[in-house]
Subunit: 311 residues, 3 copies
């Protein structure tokens, strides 16, 4: 998330009772989790395993729980609990705003767009022209939808990222400040859920069509003209390139890429990055033909057993 | 879909700028996609691979992109893009009607039926007597529900078919003009989706019970007294006969039949027609006992490897 | 379910046209299905296979279709159709109450709790303080939610148990009189369904977090600080102990236990009780490392085939 105006690092330090190490005069442009951080942003790190990654990332500011040398051109915020500092900043700049009305006065809705009864349109939502938002759809604050989109009933756009930090005796919630951005000519089936980015945007590219009961996790970026069949589940921070086809009930794990034009057959489980232009099957996925061969061989096992007995 | 009154072929030709080949005086009774076409209907074909199928189908009228001899007793509509002609006719006769109210004035609701708060009842919906439609259910236009049915919260009845035509740089939507028909004594769990037929009807037979999160695709026909456990997904144009039991998370591919009394165990994937009266397991499904044997043999592979090493 | 006041057995006999065998002066405290029955409760049995289990259960009263000796300290209700007697009692003491309003006047909602537009709050629902109930959530009658909970949009709490009795030509519904109880600091994602107990309570322990599209069946009891990823499905009468992690699309069959701290990898199917503290994979689940080994061996099958050919 970019702040609506640049923030003084010293103000963030005061807000969160943390201590500046380095140049306190720099202005902070936004806040992002490490996967999506950009120059001018502040991010956080609290585990020695990731110190180097965070300090060498694009982030200009790092909230950290160890006093380390300040990298060139950057500044640090020191605090014993960087996660809480990060969440505190998010809470301050993107507080939850209860809605008084079913369609927020701050929502911007384009010409020719139909909002059916029972649909909820949150604060600062933008919807383009000639869309149909069907009955009982829920669109959380700050979501953006392009032109000529159809969102079927009871679909939920912009619910919070499923992202929690393990503490000794409970989980702490990572507050989400990202958005959902849906481009033009997208159709989402009924009872889908597209979570907002935890700090960046979850994006669905133009012309992509989703069937019913599909889950898209936080910060996942989906290309153009993809087709996903019913009950597909895609975790967070996934990249799906253009023209990908996922058949029904496919599951996709977090933080991987599915290349342009890949086809994944039904009920498969994608556990690592897949090259484009190929067809995959299985849980975990393999090349579909290879998987079919394996399954044929398993069927021949009784014969092998007989042969071995005879030896 | 049958038209509310028979239509002159010449009017359809004018509406869609297409050209009649054959007898222009015949009356067109309805419009249907090739899977569900009946005598008196108009259908379309745009790929040489399917010309013969369409021309020899029950359809009395075929929209086609090649000048071919007119089959006995039929007539053709010639156009370079039959898909667009078909969609144009659907759009004309079954345009999307936005709803002003949560419960449409044109809906017919039987005695003793309870509509809970937040439920959306579209135009021309019919609901029988002694039903309960729970909170935040969404029922699209033209759906029909029998007597003594229970529809649990946030279920969606009659969303559009997931049916798109690939064009060089985008997908074109096949507009749906079919319906959902639910017979008596059916119970649907929460967060289910029953899509309307693309041109015909999606049907759920009497006494059938669905658990939560179940997807039923367009034009699928389900028999009587079936039981489907949670998160089952059934594609379009499937026939499921009476007394079929599908356990949780089963997936069923399109355009196949599951025979009477078949049982499919949890997480299985049905990829082809299954004979009735048997139990199945696996993805893709096999006879359940056969599959169990295979899995037992896979567990013996270490032993085989040892034996082979010794040879 | 406990009755709001103890009931005379003779009144229940009159209500259901059944006949008392044994001491008619005892008071009945509640009604429960056999899995959850307690002392003072009435339960039912209608199959010889389960007579002994029911008669020796904690139940003080048993509705039965055979004249048997009355166990010490108990009493029986004789009827040819015990299931109907049981359902008749449930219907009398927990009749369905249609809701006139979106938020029932009998609901009790704590300080600082936000109810977003379109959320339905049924009769006698209790919600603690500082919760957020997002748009178009549906909460059925008698559900209870603790403090600091977040329920995301279009989630359904308290729909009926999926529990039917097979009759010769149809299914009869087991009416649900149980509740959903959600403890403090729970977060439920969007489009989840938590069914009420059929006669007891479905419980989600404090600090547990559910992603989207998750199904939790009737009478299932989930411990503290569990994490379930999207599209997990859990059947009825399951016990999940504390700190269990279920990855995406895992399915769990009914009437089993998953031990404390167990981890089940994505798309696995849990078919029997799992010991805590271990990691599982597969459908049905095995120890994850064992399963990985098996899969590696299957990949070596072509090599084995070659070796065998050479023999």
């Amino acid at each position: 998330m970019k702040f609506s105006a640049p923030q003084r690092l010293s103000d963030l330090a005061n807000l969160t009772s943390s201590r500046i190490i380095g140049d306190e005069h720099k202005l902070v442009l936004g806040i992002n989790e490490i996967h999506k951080v950009e120059e001018g942003d502040i991010t956080f790190v609290d585990h020695p395993k990731y110190y180097d990654k965070a300090l060498n990332s694009a982030a200009t500011f790092v909230i950290i729980n160890k006093e380390v040398p300040v990298p060139e051109g950057k500044a640090l915020l020191f605090h014993s609990d960087p996660f809480s500092v990060y969440v505190g900043i998010v809470k301050h700049f993107r507080p939850f705003q209860p809605s008084e009305k079913r369609i927020s006065d701050s929502a911007v809705i384009g010409a020719g767009t139909v909002i059916q009864p029972g649909a909820f349109i949150g604060n600062h939502v933008k919807i383009g022209s000639n869309c149909v938002i069907h009955a009982n759809v829920s669109i959380y604050d700050h979501s953006e939808i392009g032109n000529n989109c159809v969102i079927h009933s009871n679909t939920v756009i912009g619910a919070d990222a499923f992202y929690f930090k393990r503490r000794p005796d409970h989980y702490d919630k990572m507050l989400s400040c990202g958005r959902v951005i849906i481009h033009d000519n997208v159709e989402l089936g009924a009872c889908c859920t597209i979570d907002k980015g935890v700090s960046s945007d979850t994006i669905i590219g133009s012309g992509t069509k989703l069937d019913n009961h599909i889950h898209v996790g936080h910060d996942t970026v989906i290309g153009k003209n993809c087709l996903f069949a019913a009950q597909v589940g895609i975790a967070g921070v996934v990249t799906i390139e253009d023209d990908v086809i996922l058949w029904g009930q496919v599951g996709v794990q977090k933080d991987l890429t599915i290349g342009k034009g890949a086809v994944v057959l039904g009920q498969s489980g994608v556990g690592k990055t897949l090259e484009g232009g190929k067809t995959y099957f299985g849980s975990p996925t393999q090349d579909a033909r290879q998987k079919m061969k394996e399954m044929a061989m398993v069927k021949q096992l009784p014969e092998i057993f007989e042969k071995l007995k005879a030896i």
